[in-house]
Amino acid sequence: MTGLLGQIGFVAGRSVRRTLRQPGILVPSLIFPLFLLAVNTPGLQQITRLPGFPTDNYIDFAVIGCVIQGALFATTTAGSELALDIESGFLSRLSLTPLRPAAILLGQLAGAVTVGMLSTVLFVTIGIVFGVQFDAGPGGVLVLLALALLVCTAFGAIGSLMALRTGSGEAVQAAFPLLFVLFFLSSINLPRPLIEADWFRTVATWNPISYMVEGLRSLIVTGWDGAALAKGFGVCVAVIALAFWAATASMRTRMARA
């Protein structure tokens, strides 16, 4: 077995193949966000008439909601796949090989991140077809894809951590509504300064998802906003680092037990 990169590639190949072979994972992560986009855009278009709203086309604002929802599905995809490997004993058998825990963890994420990125590309393409304009220009699209990659990795890492802590696919699925709550309690539907309810604005300000949303969205509605991008990238890196640190510790414990 080769170095760390080779080991990651080996596990990642299996993860991507396994995930892409399951339409049951792919379809909901595409259909559900697109349906909400189709309903929210004409339903909330009037909100763009509020003073201070950053765009006059709600789809510019709403398309990022799809990207984040796609990333949320990455949590359950990554978590469920890893939990299945734990439940079936595959992870225990892997522990007998020279594979390093970090390689298994990173490689296992590949399937979920691939699905997250495929859905991001689809959502952005559909958005552009329906009139989304990037104020940051074509370069903004590339930066959006880079940030979306980190967002998917961050949520995937959280899913992996849940799987390693609980060892149960059912528990990972059950945690999905909690993440969905966090999604809604962010600046996903309105810019934070326009949220009237004080408690909601406070929760949204402490919610890391708000910064991911605002970083991604700035490229469409504001242009090059260094502060929003720095916060978006910073939050993602922090979540990834924390989740990986905790997941690696859990993985070591599980592999030692096996």
Binding site: P42, R49, L185, L190, A197
Partner: protein
């Protein structure tokens, strides 16, 4: 034993069992309460600025406007969860034993619908308390509020009959997403965030024909004390309930034929 008596006895037994099962398994009861609460918090809290949008003139404020949607949505999804129970009972083999033992098969359908109403009664109380705590303004009279509750009951019965019919046909919990999807589509193809007049594009066209729009508008009329064609809404509800009752009873016949 008369036919009516056996219908009532079977319905009572099935409803009692389903309610005991739901109230002793938080995993079954909580989603029906938590999801509407999440939507209430997200929509009424996060989107309250819609109150200031030009053209939005709902007299009781945005929390009440959203409360009615969430209230009726809880009724619809509470009804759909009944189909999950039917499917689970078939998968475990209980439903077949029940069909052998029950002198009235229509009573089984009635029992499941009764259980759905029992769960919805609990959800109604929780949602109303949370709505009032969240600052919901009720400008209608007690009678008008009961009118809103009656609309919720109607929607709950319609959705329960729909999902029971679905569960009797598919007899598999794997059909759960297919039970939820049409209800989800109908609910969100209505004036969820703003009144019908402020909707734009395809959604305005679809919502104008969506039967749930009339029910939603009547509910909002009740809470604001300005009734908005309530009899039309109840008429639509009764028509849908009659259609879905036929669907559920025919589903029972199919289940009987399958043995």
């Amino acid at each position: 034993m008369s036919r009516t008596r056996s219908l009532v006895n079977v319905a009572r037994a099935v409803a009692g069992r389903s309610l005991r099962h739901a109230f002793t398994n938080p995993a079954l009861l909580l989603p029906g309460i938590l999801f509407p609460l999440i939507f209430l918090v997200a929509f009424a809290g996060g989107l309250s600025a819609i109150d200031d949008t030009p053209g939005f003139d709902f007299p009781s404020g945005y929390t009440s406007f959203q409360f009615v949607f969430v209230f009726l949505q809880a009724a619809a999804f509470g009804g759909v969860f009944t189909g999950f129970a039917v499917a689970r009972d078939f998968e475990s083999g209980f439903a077949r034993r029940l069909m052998l033992a029950a002198p009235s098969r229509a009573g089984i359908v009635l029992g499941y619908v009764g259980a759905s109403l029992g769960r919805y009664a609990f959800t109604t109380v929780v949602l109303t308390v949370v709505g009032l705590l969240a600052g919901m303004q009720v400008d209608g009279t007690v009678l008008e509020y009961l009118g809103l509750v009656a609309l919720g009951v109607t929607i709950n019965v319609v959705a329960a009959l729909f999902s029971v019919g679905f569960g009797l046909r598919t007899q598999s919990i794997q059909a759960a997403p297919a039970m939820q999807l049409p209800v989800f589509l109908l609910m969100f193809a209505a004036p969820v965030f703003v009144p019908l007049e402020l909707l734009e594009g395809w959604l305005h066209a679809v919502a104008s024909w969506n039967p749930l729009t009339a029910i939603l508008e009547a509910g909002r009329g009740f809470i604001s004390g300005v009734p908005d064609h309530p009899w039309a809404a109840f008429g639509i509800g009764a028509g849908l309930a009659a259609l879905m009752a036929l669907w559920a009873l025919r589903g029972m016949r199919r289940a009987e034929a399958r043995g």
